[in-house]
């Protein structure tokens, strides 16, 4: 134990401020992705009290859809159109496709079980997750597919503009793709907050989440609201999938599992059902993971992340922003 502590201090010293910044940067970028996925867990839980285990796999499908667009346009090394329109189309197709997939999952796997005991949709969610993972595995032979994002837009296989530095902090670059990931994540989250708090759909969503039956008697088509919620949740996951592909450079059929688990952790730590909670906790999980890898060692990162989850649940079971269990009168 002392030795471990000594090693950590040693590592902090040797990485210095530059390393600390790099870890901060890495954690925020990764955490933005976790936040986007965590939002889906929290929204779907909020409206159906369902842990949608398949959500991580929707994110995986999003990554593959983005990859499909990239391939259809000739691949990263040789794209037929400009970089900016290409990336826009990748996002559009992946977000739309994932959204439709999410709606389909709800329609065909969960809706028929709406009035079944709570455990039934939970099992169905596991089933959908396995279905998506194994289908993807069969279609991809279990191989990782390379976005070649590093070469995207570059000449002769050199790194493309996505990996150009936008600015540097203490000599450490922050690249275009990192800004792109965080920037679009923040934009999407702002749009979501706006949608939920300001629009009628948002109000209908909150009403349905609080009391589905009462909402339907107030003229709210709750099935449609639930569909919309799945759509939005899945759109965010699909966007995260493409971001991941562009930033990390690869996709594979199993990528949704661990990312989903971590995002779920974030959703719980943030207070399941809380949108702001999912956003904050997603970045938090990213940061914890990043610093744990950098300072303690990769073998500890998951233990640290999930250990914190357990501790947190003991200390504050409602999560960071959990509702103070509003009493129905």
């Amino acid at each position: 134990m002392h030795l471990l502590l000594f090693n950590i201090i040693d590592q902090i010293r040797s990485l210095g401020w530059g390393g600390a910044f790099e870890l901060l940067r890495n954690g925020i970028v990764l955490g933005s992705l976790y936040s986007l996925i965590a939002l889906g867990y929290t929204m779907i839980y909020g409206i159906l009290k369902l842990l949608n285990f398949a959500h991580g796999d929707v994110y995986m499908v999003g990554a593959f859809l983005g990859f499909g667009v990239l391939t259809a346009f000739g691949g990263a090394l040789n794209p037929g159109i400009g970089l900016v329109p290409l990336i826009i189309i990748m996002f559009a197709v992946a977000m739309l496709g994932s959204g439709v997939l999410g709606v389909g999952i709800e329609r065909f796997a969960y809706r028929p079980l709406r009035n079944a005991p709570r455990i039934a949709p939970l099992i169905a969610a596991l089933g959908v997750s396995f279905f998506l993972e194994n289908s993807a595995q069969l279609m991809t032979n279990g191989f990782q597919y390379n976005y070649d994002a590093f070469q995207l837009g570059g000449k002769n296989g050199n790194f493309g503009p996505l990996f150009d530095p936008v600015f540097t902090v203490a000599g450490n670059p922050v690249t275009v793709v990192q800004v792109l990931v965080v920037g679009s994540a923040v934009t999407l989250m702002a749009a979501l907050i706006f949608l939920v708090s300001r629009t009628r759909l948002g109000k209908a969503m909150r009403a349905t989440a609080f009391d589905q039956e009462a909402a339907s008697m107030m003229g709210i088509d709750t099935d449609r609201v639930i569909s919309s919620t799945f759509f939005i949740a899945s759109v965010l996951a699909g966007a995260a999938g493409v971001m991941y592909g562009l930033y990390i450079g690869t996709t594979f059929y199993f990528m949704g599992f661990l990312a989903g688990l971590k995002a779920f952790t974030a959703a719980v730590v943030g207070g399941i059902g809380s949108i702001v909670g999912a956003m904050v906790a997603g970045v938090l999980v990213g940061l914890i993971e990043s610093y744990a890898i950098g300072y303690v060692g990769g073998q500890w990162s998951d233990i640290v992340v999930f250990g914190i989850l357990i501790l947190f649940m003991i200390v504050r079971p409602t999560g960071l922003f959990g509702a103070q269990a509003i009493q129905k009168v």
Binding site: A191, F194, L195, R198, T199, R200, L201, G202, K203, A204, R206, A207, A209, F210, D211, E213, A214, A215, S216, M217, M218, G219, I220, D221, T222, S228, F231, I232, A323, I326, Q327, K328, V329
Partner: protein, 274 residues
């Protein structure tokens, strides 16, 4: 959708809400027993009856929480049987709940805005793309919500609108439920014990309000109420239920003195005396 229109002439012949031979049982227990009921346009009809008589079940049947085992339920001549609750609400039947069911995770005015969902076309794209038309609609919804809340005067004043619904007092929660129901632009309001839990002055106020809802708001009202002062004060007509059977119908005086009604109440509690 338009504001509730004053009735055309035909209402004299055709009731707004009409139940015919409605049955409902839960696992062998008959809760609504061959019930006929008609509510005319602009009328206030009270439903009374001892606990467990089937009054709330009647509302649940009308609003589509569950379908009747048999029988017909019509609003303005069109059948409601088999429609999902939100479609029934959009046809013009809105209700409040005996056990308050406000959206406590939202503000006062949001509660009233949320129930206008059925009046507007909603799509994610439409909601997100802030076209001028959308913004106008959004403003209109807020204006309409404010208008409904204004009905309650001092009680639900402007400063409360943006407070969370859970911060309201019990009586105000009942008022907000009515405002929320009004915002669905119904033709008939179904109020389930609107005076329950209120003190005498609040009860007096709600009695006046129900009258005002009909007179100024133009609503037709079907109300369940235990408080006989309220029932006497508002009703054009009273219907008494016992074990799901209609045991009396008529003016308040006629029903309150009907021996079967007195017996039904004495059998459970002597609540019918004022």
């Amino acid at each position: 959708m338009a504001e509730p229109q004053p009735s055309p002439e035909s209402t004299q012949t055709k009731p707004l809400l009409e139940l015919e031979g409605v049955w409902k049982s839960f696992g062998g227990l008959v809760v609504i027993d061959n019930l006929d009921l008609a509510v005319n346009e602009n009328e206030i009809v009270s439903v009374i009856g001892p606990n467990g008589a089937g009054k709330t079940t009647l509302f649940n049947l009308i609003t589509g929480i569950y379908p009747p085992d048999s029988g017909a339920i019509r609003l303005d001549g069109e059948s409601l049987v088999g429609l999902p609750p939100h479609k029934i609400a959009r046809r013009g039947a809105a209700r409040t709940f005996q056990t308050l069911r406000l959206f406590l995770n939202m503000t006062v005015i949001e509660n009233v805005m949320a129930s206008q969902y059925g009046q507007t076309k909603v799509g994610i794209a439409r909601a997100m793309l802030r076209t001028p038309g959308m913004r106008r609609e959004e403003r209109e919804i807020r204006a309409r919500a404010e208008e409904k809340l204004a009905f309650f005067g001092e009680r639900l004043m402007g400063y409360r609108w943006d407070q969370p619904a859970y911060s309201l007092s019990y009586a105000n929660r009942r008022r907000l439920e009515i405002a929320r129901a009004m915002a669905t632009e119904p033709r008939i309001l179904l109020l389930d014990e609107p005076a329950a839990g209120m003190n005498p002055s609040e009860t007096h106020e709600i009695t006046e309000l129900i009258g005002k809802l009909r007179d100024d708001g133009g609503y037709t009202i079907l109300v369940i109420e235990h408080d006989m002062h309220v029932v006497e004060g508002i009703s054009d007509r009273v219907v008494a239920l016992d074990h799901g059977v209609k045991i009396a119908e008529g003016t308040f005086e006629a029903v309150a003195t009907n021996p079967r009604v007195v017996e039904a109440y004495l059998g459970t509690s002597a609540a019918v005396t004022k």
